[in-house]
């Protein structure tokens, strides 16, 4: 076990609605998400002395948020990055609090991911305008190869060839996550879908169809991390951080196509660190959040983190494995595919709510942990939600993770 296992906790979570468009600034959305996270934890703005966020040049900063919310911070650093940053910043929070840099830290992401800057380098002013290929983009953009769907499409295609997997396995992920979204009043896409619906949806980038792709969203989401000693006095049952990894990279992280096996993803390097630090095995995990920018990213990370063997996901996910009440429920909020896209924070938020036994579903007593477990009546709470594994994804080359546990059976 790691020396810091269970010493730090997630004590507050909050988010804005998932919007398209928000008609709001990222600053305004960040303030709302952080206020909700503080209220959830039973903290106020004077209790927060550390803040961090991640962005791709598309968002506000911790200094702006602290100014707006009247916080006097001892630590404020914003990092560059998208997916895989949430779990990485949880690791930063643990290290910083342990070292005494601050005591209680907010982690947020705020993005107008649909109405503002969209992923993939579309020129400001839309596709009609000229785009500029400079820096890294000199060796992507001139081949018309910029969006995540386009970038990950190449590793997905080779994966299908090497493993004999078909897109029916991708469909299993889409169907499971949509089923969970149907139980989540906050989700953007709530109508259940079938394997056939997935197979009939239009191509975006072969081998990805529309229902393989996540929802571009305007949203902010925030979590609060502090020490176990402080967590015991707060409003919610604490959620303990058992272990994690912070951006384990493959050997060629900037141009994964240029060398190495293109679908040997970053999580393969994180797996033993993660489970070693947490002191548990995959068998102890009750549910997962597995980054679903695309259905494929969930598939390949289930293998990378050892929930099934390499090339075995096609059999592992078959027949609804990832659905609530089945073997390994995944992304219980509906995830990026169906709830909305926050570059990973909302997956941690859902994990926290499940581990507290307080999923915000249709059950009238959810806030007190009273659930019916009747899926037809809209209950989303897992009966057995003691340990979860969060698998973040940046690209094929970049992964972060966290194992969390609750104190409620």
């Amino acid at each position: 076990m790691g020396s810091l296992t269970d010493k730090y906790c997630i004590v507050g979570v909050g988010e804005t609605p998932h919007m398209r468009p928000s008609n709001r600034t990222t600053l305004s959305m960040a303030c709302e998400a952080i206020r909700k996270a503080m209220a959830d934890a039973g903290l106020d703005h004077r209790d927060i002395d550390g803040m961090t966020s991640y962005q791709t040049g598309d968002s506000t900063t911790s200094a702006h948020v602290a100014t707006a919310l009247g916080m006097r911070l001892n630590y404020a650093v914003d990092i560059f990055g998208g997916g895989s940053s949430t779990e990485a910043l949880i690791a930063h929070a643990i290290g910083l609090i342990e070292a005494g840099y601050c005591k209680t830290m907010v982690i947020f992401r705020a993005m107008n991911g649909r109405s503002g800057r969209r992923m993939g380098g579309q020129a400001p002013g839309g596709p009609a305008a000229a785009a500029t290929a400079e820096g890294d983009n000199q060796f992507f953009m001139p081949w018309g190869w910029t969006t995540p769907a386009q970038r990950f499409g190449l590793s997905a295609m080779r994966y299908l060839r090497d493993t004999g997997c078909t897109t029916k396995a991708f469909a299993e992920v889409a169907v499971a996550h949509r089923l969970h979204a149907s139980l989540n009043p906050k989700a953007l896409m709530r109508s259940p879908i079938t394997i056939e619906d997935h197979q009939r949806s239009r191509w975006v980038v072969k081998p990805f169809r529309l229902l393989d792709c996540c929802q571009e969203t305007d949203v902010s989401a925030a979590i609060i991390v502090t020490s176990r000693e402080r967590a015991y006095d707060l409003r919610q049952p604490p959620v303990f951080i058992m272990g994690g990894t912070a951006r384990t990279l493959t050997e060629s992280p900037a141009w994964n196509y240029s060398r190495g096996e293109i679908h040997y993803v970053g999580g393969n390097y994180g797996r033993n660190r993660l489970f070693g630090m947490a002191g548990i095995s995959q068998k102890d995990v009750d549910f997962v959040s597995c980054y679903d920018a695309f259905t494929f990213t969930t598939i390949i990370q289930l293998e990378a983190y050892g929930f099934c063997g390499r090339g075995e996901a096609k059999d592992f996910v078959k027949g609804g494995t990832l659905q609530i009440d089945n073997k390994l429920p995944s992304n219980l909020s509906g995830g990026h595919l169906s709830e909305g896209y926050t570059h990973g924070v909302q997956m941690i938020i859902e994990n926290v709510r499940q581990l507290r036994h307080r999923a915000d579903d249709a059950c009238p007593g959810w806030a007190e942990g009273k659930h019916t477990y009747d899926r037809k009546a809209g209950c989303r709470q897992l009966k057995r939600a003691r340990i979860c594994c969060a698998m973040g994804w940046g690209t094929e080359t970049t992964s972060s993770s966290a194992i969390l546990r609750g104190i409620v059976a």
Binding site: P127, G135, F139, G144, G153, M157, V205, K206, I262
Partner: protein, 156 residues
């Protein structure tokens, strides 16, 4: 054949690490970086050798042939330059003369001049070059130039 790429909507800005590579394409050469210390050949042109970290680097002119390692088919482009070209195939290509003693191989990427129906992993390709309205910039493309022995196609 895919439609024309409208290079007038794409501005390519070489930098001190990449300028000579783009000079190469202008002269219809497909270059990769070669380490003068350990001989490692690599792409894209980064300022150091990933095998030995040497920054004493030269160029290796490849024969401009290789094999399709993977591909994807873009049906919904987002860049104006590529809207008239869609659907188009982006391929990752293993360069024929960049295989090293440890079995590793340098790969590059580019748009095929072929349609999806002609494309398969394992087919051999050769480089071709697209002129652009910017006289300083020539963009490499790849065309299928034979039939591979071990091929795989996405049939869905």
């Amino acid at each position: 054949m895919p439609g024309q790429i409208d290079y007038s909507k794409l501005r390519i800005l070489p930098d001190p690490d990449t300028r000579e590579w783009w000079e190469g394409t202008k002269q219809r050469k497909y270059l990769v970086r070669q380490c003068k210390s350990c001989g490692h050949k690599f792409f894209p042109p980064l300022p150091a050798c990933a095998k030995c970290t040497s920054m004493d680097l030269g160029w290796f002119e490849t024969v401009g042939r290789g094999m399709i390692h993977s591909y994807c088919v873009v049906t919904q482009p987002i860049l104006g330059a590529f809207i008239p070209a869609a659907p188009y195939v982006v391929a990752v290509i293993e360069l024929e003369d960049c295989r090293e003693a440890d079995g590793s191989v340098t790969r590059v990427a580019g748009v095929l001049t072929n349609d999806e129906a002609e494309t398969a992993i394992g087919h051999p390709v050769e480089v071709t070059f697209d002129e652009t309205p910017d006289a300083k910039i020539v963009v490499p493309r790849w065309r299928i130039c034979g039939v591979g022995s071990d091929t795989w196609r996405f049939l869905e």
